[in-house]
Amino acid sequence: MEETKFTPQTWPNHAEQATAEGKNKFVGIWIFICSDIVLFASVFATYLSLRNKGPAGMEFTTQSLFELPLAFVMTMLLLTSSLTSVYAMYHMKNYNIKGVITWMAITVLLGLGFLGLEIYEFYHYVHIGFGYTQSAFSSAFFTLVGTHGLHVIIGLVWITCLIVRNAKRGLNLYNAPKFYAASIYWHFIDVVWVFIFTVVYLMGVLG
């Protein structure tokens, strides 16, 4: 493989799309995201039609279940992790691998915080009797929010692998597109969460 050693002076402006592979990765991650939009649109539609619906176990409703402070903290964690991955891409543009690794690591930590709260939330619901099979509402809720949570887990594993693999390697035109694609994917997770906190939690509290 090529062993070009770059310096900040020779690092190209669009390093993440300087090679054919980089260009393909950029288009590829977007095609994946478009199909993911369709997946999430389906689980959102399912949730909205089965929200607060039985056939049995109607003691739980969106208004009695959801706690806004928890949803707010989760939203802030995920939104901030979106900014920290923008910082990582800023350092990638300046050919600063330390900056990339540091900010990606902060992104992972914030993501872990979000995931921890989500696990706590799910555990709490199951504990009070609102399990996956409890009603049509509960299945739709766990499928929607759980699919998003699964995306968060995949993103965390992905970014952690990138950090471990590339920390000592330095930036090159081979791994720059990988970081770039991972950051776009991570922003997409935040995009989906914007709709979840609005449609599930805020509109759920309104009833």
Partner: protein
């Protein structure tokens, strides 16, 4: 697949210009982030403030829409004219969203239990 490209050293002026450009771009991103935080606060605040749901629901959906467009165009670089096939990508994203919307609408209005 090739990872190879011509290695060209930038002139000092070009290098400094690019660094400056990157820093300015990053500042813009922080401003966009501040707007997103503000929109989120606003959405939670109007719900807590207990206005009429008929008023709040369209309002917070609008806020979510604005925030998503901000994410797509700033953080996810859909505003980047140099992005490879960015025109195709943005057509694909928006036409995909428009195709799935009637399906979504059908679910929400036609399905009941």
């Amino acid at each position: 697949m090739g990872h190879h490209t011509e290695v060209q050293a930038k002139t000092k002026a070009q290098y400094e210009y690019d660094r400056h450009h990157n820093a300015v771009h990053m500042k813009k991103q922080v401003v966009n982030f501040a707007i997103m935080i503000f929109l989120t606060f606003l959405a939670f605040a109007v719900v807590v403030a207990d206005f009429s749901p008929y008023l709040i629901k369209p309002f917070i959906l609008l806020l979510a829409g604005i925030q998503v467009v901000l994410q797509l165009y700033s953080f996810m670089h859909m505003d980047d004219k140099n992005g490879h096939h960015i025109g195709v990508i943005s057509t694909y994203v928006w036409s995909g969203a428009m195709i799935i919307f009637p399906v979504f609408l059908a679910f929400v209005t036609v399905v009941w239990w």
